[in-house]
Symmetry: C2
Subunit: 270 residues, 2 copies
């Protein structure tokens, strides 16, 4: 099967006849800011070649949607760059089937992409989301005294399905003072949020996923839950847990049950 | 050097303190459509690991800018996904230095990206451009009788510097009936443009790059010149050559000097 045939097939699967021009054309709505994020998934780094391609495709989109959720955005469209060994037509179709399942469920249009070959499977998914002008939730807005929350339970097993917390993120717009998605582990992502906001954190509890350990809940990556802060008297949403409070201190420093928590989540270059 | 340190260094090189949030925030101008394109560059497929990283970075951005040029867009910002073997900090910096040189020259903000590791070097550059509402030049607007043009000379050597034809593309807005950038070879890209526009083409001459061959000018990829059509009586721009005319016939078929020209430019899956 040639590249033209594969692209034609994807175009039909996506029900988007626009795919195939040099660029995708997007007309923004008035009064909105746009959010852009891109995330790579690489064979033998983020997944194994034996895993199901539909699950890999769905996960690749879910990771980027999680970033959109963290800033309170509504997903609009995605671009998908994919490289596979040359004889993988069926694999490519199954990958797109999985990705499009989640795309349809979250109203994310597959607007275009790039197809190439490589020795190992590689993909990069860019997602564009939208949020009311000036209302994106950032990492740098947490203030001393704010309550710190996480959604769900942490330390989940790696291979599971990711459910990007889009509805929660959207409900936090105008309410949360800061938010980040937990992709690299609570200890590292909370450290990052504190550095950006110029505050320190004290946490005293962490909701641990069933069958997991506290260690994994603190330092394991790939939870894709939201970590966010609210003014101390605000009420949070269902399915979230207050884990601590922002305090005065060395920016970025985190204390867990009275002891310093060293950030040692996922770092691609360590 | 840790991932945080590398990202901090890139943030300073890009002079964009916004880099580091989950998403880049972009505020669109009123009355504009946005254009999005993404292009992969993969070690041993699009370049060799021994090539200079600054040249690879510049080329990675240039390829995507060429797509923006083809639709008449003005570049706004880019997202850069990069994966390298773990010990490549100096390589990463040089890659970004080359990319940012072209980004600055073309007013393209480096708005964010993703950094990971992989056995081979891999990158994917997404560029957003803007064009007046409804004015993007597409592939599907060529009409029977239109004159076919290319910019520059074709069949250029692979390793050279790419100069994306942004000014030419912008000057064609409202004038060209269709446009595509020559990334996969004239025979394949002209075939694609004809298929999209539902027309056939007759070409009788091709400007061949000095030291190259007609064969390479017809079928070689990576020229990154613009192929476009104008109504028969329009004047074209300097540095462009009329190579033929759109005619009635089987959509997508191309005749060169009286003989069928089979599309056999670059196909990643052949």
């Amino acid at each position: 099967m040639s590249e033209l045939t594969i692209i034609d097939r994807i175009r039909r699967m996506a029900r988007n006849p626009g795919i195939g021009d040099d660029c995708a054309i997007f007309r923004p709505h008035a009064g909105e800011d746009l959010l852009f994020t891109t995330d790579q998934m690489i064979e033998d780094v983020h997944f194994l070649g034996v895993q199901k391609p539909a699950a890999i495709g769905e996960r690749a989109l879910a990771r980027s949607l999680s970033d959109i959720a963290a800033m309170g955005g509504v997903p609009r469209f995605c671009l998908v760059a994919l490289a596979t060994p040359s004889a993988h037509e069926k694999w490519i179709e199954a990958f797109y089937r999985g990705l499009l399942r989640l795309a349809n469920r979250t109203n994310t249009t597959l607007a275009g992409g790039d197809l190439s070959h490589a020795e190992k499977i590689y993909c990069d998914v860019m997602v564009c989301g939208a949020v009311a002008r000036g209302k994106a939730i950032r990492r740098d807005g947490a203030r001393i005294g704010d309550a710190i929350y996480v959604s769900g339970r942490l330390g989940k097993s790696w291979g599971r399905k990711i459910e990007p917390r889009l509805a929660l993120g959207q409900s936090l717009v105008g309410r949360a003072t800061s938010c980040i998605d937990l992709s690299d582990g609570l200890s590292l992502d909370l450290h990052r949020l504190c550095v950006a906001s110029d505050v320190a954190a004290e946490i005293d509890r962490v909701p641990v996923s069933r069958g997991s350990t506290l260690e994994r809940a603190l330092h394991g990556g790939e939870d894709y839950e939201l970590l966010f802060t609210l003014p101390s008297k605000s009420k949070s949403a269902a399915g979230t847990t207050r884990i601590g409070t922002m305090v005065r201190g060395r920016p970025g420093s985190v204390v867990f049950q009275g002891k310093p928590l060293v950030p040692r989540g996922w770092d691609h270059f360590k």
